[in-house]
């Protein structure tokens, strides 16, 4: 597997405690940098999202927290998700109404990623798509359309699953 593929598509369930703790730490830094509060609830929601490489729905997060004894209302999940989105530590998959943790953390570069979502294992990868977003912007300008938000999402098979390596 190429480097880019390995980076974009790690095994979806390899949840490593140390890795997760590190991700939480980085998320905390993102919140601090933006003068947002990384509250207990937001951290718990983030941990559920970051615990998997797959995308996860709001009610799935709710269920997993409930399993751990934390019972919250849907609206609370969504509020936490809003904060996490604003902080930039998670992304939203429009085509699936689901969320996943941002692994690139390259907001500084300003280069926007596009999302590759595996239909088999659910893993979501991000690859640089700045040139594509640029082209979309040009297409909008050509139509005299004032673009504000752009979505680019691809569904298919990740390298692991395409090779038959994904879980059945």
């Amino acid at each position: 597997m190429s480097d880019v593929a390995r980076i974009a598509f790690p095994p979806p369930d390899k949840t490593n405690g140390k890795r997760l703790a590190k991700a939480v730490e980085r998320a905390g830094e993102e919140f601090a940098a933006k003068n947002l509060r990384f509250t207990k609830l937001r951290q718990m929601v983030y941990e559920e999202i970051a615990a998997t490489y797959a995308s996860i729905g709001a009610y799935e997060i709710l269920a997993r927290l409930a399993d751990k004894g934390t019972r919250v209302a849907p609206i609370s999940i969504y509020r936490a998700i809003d904060a996490l989105l604003e902080a930039g530590v998670i992304h939203r998959l429009e085509s699936k109404n689901a969320f996943f943790a941002c692994r690139r953390m390259d907001h500084r570069t300003g280069r926007r990623p596009l999302f590759l979502s595996c239909e088999k294992c659910g893993a979501v990868g991000e690859v640089d798509g700045q040139h594509i977003f640029d082209l979309i912007g040009e297409a909008a300008v050509g139509a005299k359309f004032q673009a504000r938000v752009k979505f680019v999402e691809v569904q298919g098979l990740c390298p692991r699953c395409a090779a038959g390596g994904g879980k059945e």
Copy 2:
């Protein structure tokens, strides 16, 4: 306004009886060409979608049909929508969970359009995006990702609304 802009963004509510009848006729031909049946219900659902340039949700279609005395269950609307999608006479906006009539009818060319959705008036325009989809395909190949479905959607202001010409 440029030609491309005028074509992509007519006034969202200018529902012309003759134009609609023509659209229904073309839709019927599409169904025939694909050996699908353009049934009464499918035609009614199509008319509601094609009556506006804006995107429209399934339950909005349901409500409008109910206003006209046709009371159907949600599942029936969705089945009709599925058929219309398969025939290619409507498109689905993933980012809004809504549907709109295809105005380009250029399936023959095989060039895929991208969707420009106005946040103010709701109008959805289509412009050629084949080169963008090509690039996305290349990006996927670079990540060893086997792409199957691609979504590209843009939200913003259509020329009319950006110029202050849209309804408030």
